[in-house]
Amino acid sequence: MTEPVLSLTQHIPALLVLVPLLASAIIPFSPARLRRAGGTVALLANAAALALASALAVETFRLGRVTYNFGGWAPPWGIEYAVDPLAAIMLLLVAFVSFAAAVYSRAAAGAEIAHEKLPYYHSAGLLLVSGLSGMIITGDVFNLYVFLEIASLAGYALIAAGRRRDALVASFNYLILGTIAATFILLGIGYLYMASGTLNIADLRERLPHIYHTKTVLTAFAFLMVGFSIKTALFPLHIWLPDAYTYAPSPASALLAAAGTKVGVYAMLRVTYTVFRPEFNASVVPMKTILLVLSSAAIIYGAVMAIAQKDIKRMLAWSSVSQIGYIVLGAAIASQYSLTGSLLHMINHALMKAALFMCAGLMLISTGAEKISDLRGAAARMPLTMAAFTAAAVSMTGIPPTLGFMSKWHIALGAVEAGLWAVVPVVLAGSLLTGIYFWKVIEPAYFAAPPEGHIPSGRGQAPDTPAPFWAAAPAAALAGLGVLLGLAAWTPAAGAARAAGELLLK
């Protein structure tokens, strides 16, 4: 009805992907002086992306759905970008976390990455954001694959930037598994195209129900699910994750754990709820049972492994395996409550795990701590970092009134409502185990005396340096959001409930 004032506003969906992509290309090819300011360029690009994502989210929740034809070509000839409430939430989440990570990286990535590699690190970070945003926004399955590869390649590079040689091995292992996953996904897409003759998601949704039972479509579904399970690190396909998150630089771990795996889950949701319809999972394949079992196992196994860890980042990595279990569990129960809970938990885990990995980085910077045993009495030396860590841990554990409580409440309520009594204890016991592995860090940090003459495992010759303020600020802000959004859960929950409702439409 109303003409947009600026024609640019029409192009927000495209800009959201292009801005980080172009910025990513500019940094390595620019003159030396600008290259040194890579952190600032990345920060500005991420700020722009955050603004664009916010505007797009407002627009999407107002209109219900925003579409954009790339290059002006209408589907099915051109590539369509389609934004529904779920995509809008995810885009905003990715942009927000990336922005926070960019603030941190600009201030403190230099502590873990060699000076000459820094511009390339910032460039790869932007490439990851561009790839992830593209995966979320696209309405075309082949285009989804292309963005997946962009994001994956950036991910391998980010992990390999870690300061230990182990980072290279971790990156290589992830590369092999990631490539297998991408190949599976490509095969799945190929089979879908073979069977239906289209790559557009909306068209696939229309055409597939007639051919649900054909072997081609079933095979395609299997390939897609396994492929995305690897990218999501769903138990038992999580084996690449602990090493990758442990050895990657802390801000990269924050970005990958917060945004990377979430987009994997998002793609899985798109495949199971949008490309295929909910009834496909209900009547054609026993996907619900398989996912319930795997995600329950993930929750418990990931948490038990996290309890057994001595290294801070490795503990956080195993915690991710467990929390991804929660997200998939909520999605698998497939009720309004549980799916809302699943989306809330994506938000909770993204914000909190980003905060926690940043805290791990801050601990390394300010005290040289890499192992949990290095943290004895550390709260006195880094009060802000430990306060942020504790607040984030409380939200991860699901103690009210935090966002983590709200998300687990919805997931568990969905399970009670569906009469899945075996799942309820898993959800609750998982919280307890979460509490235990975080308590193993919090207790010594606050209540133990610092050992005399102890040399922290991550410390070279350098003396203790106070963490830069702009590295601690985003960690504290993210952790604070967990409590704030818990008290005002109304806002995220309303958005999540709407997104969940649309996914569940028959």
Binding site: P400, V424, W490
Partner: protein, 496 residues
Amino acid sequence: MSELLSFKPLYAVLASLAAGLLVSVSGRRPRLRESFTLAGAAAKFGIIISMLPAVLAGHSFSTPGLEVFPGMELRLKADALGMVFAAMSSFLWILVSVYSVGYLQKTGEERRTRFFAFFAFTLSAAAGLAFSANLFTAFVFYELITLATYPLVAHKQTKEAMESGRIYLAYLLGTSLTFMLAAILITYNAAGTLDFVPGGIFGELAAGNKVLLGTVFFLFIAGTAKAAIMPLHSWLPAAMVAPAPVSALLHAVAVVKAGVFLVLKVTLHVFGAETLRELGFGGPLAWIASFTIIAASVMALTQDNLKLRLAYSTVSQLSYVVLGAALLSPSALKGAVAQLAAHGFAKITLFLAAGAIYALERRTKVSELDGIGRRMPLTMTAFSLCALSMIGAPPLAGFISKWHIGLGAVEAGRPVFLAVIGASALLNAAYFLPIIYRAFWGRPGADHGAGHGAATESGAAAMMMVVPLVITAAVTLALFFFPGPLLKLAELAAGG
């Protein structure tokens, strides 16, 4: 019977929260810090007492709700039952604050700022629980009490204190985050609301869903480990490594009282006495409580450590509240509410006395107390009075509550529980009377004869400890002679 819209319950919560925050930033100036604590305590008590007349007249004070999510809101409401808990704990906070100043000075404990700050935070959460208008709010504050008391339990930061702290968290968070949360989830799914409503929220559901509601009821009981019902009591004896004022907080002011308070709340305002009678869940719970009453008393008999003996005594006495709730007859419920207060005042005196004995004479064992009554006459007189109240002897508060619970057992047609009350009184006498005898008539042995005969209750610090415990003992006495307001509140709470 009307509900008044008022922010007073919220102010009661905020008063101690503000005090805690001010304390935590004034660590370098101890006098200022202590005055913040005392000002907070006085303000809180004033706010709560200002609501008492209206509550006694049958009204309640309710704040507007903060809707966190549709169907789930944080809302405070001061009713008769909450009033008993809140008025008692806020009154005791004043006394314990004064006592703590003297105690910490005499024992030379470190980290006093953290101590006073978290003490205030705990009181804030306790008021929140006392005034919670629904299960969600209650759950939030119940967990906050646990988190806020942890630094106090682990205060000494020794290996033993840390171990006890871990047990404390494991029991309290472990049960509430699983059993209680499960119970709340099922309740919400079944009843569609989490509000506390006198008479219960299940209504017609009760008839056909005995198994489901039974599961919910006992999940609630198992989830409320703060009530220290056996076998979930071990955290309480373990926590006695903490300084004496913290034991007072755990045993009388906030923590265990929060547990039995929630049991009463679930009994009266989630299920409703009527519904529970129909469903017949009272019987099994009454037996569990009786077992705890007797078994904990027997365990108390064998303890030589004074604080440990008192801790087992608490486990036993708390189950009187649970027994009263389980009997479900009007008098028994009234007795249960009265016991909440009677035990609070008496047990705090006992713990404060035990702390004074440690701070002034460095004695912790019952076997070292020979002749101590001659050196600390005020302390030991107060101790003796309150020990008699525990036994249930008139003219003390303990008699009032036990009388009503006993009466309730007869009303409910279960006189067998009179035998439990009688047996317990004998056991209580068996572990308390020897202490009194030793204190006043025992001959100090040569090995711990330091300070022979000389009175040690002198000096400002000592008086800061002795005066509060004399006051609480006096209240225990006064509650027998003037039980009117307490019994009126108890009657209102029990739905009379």
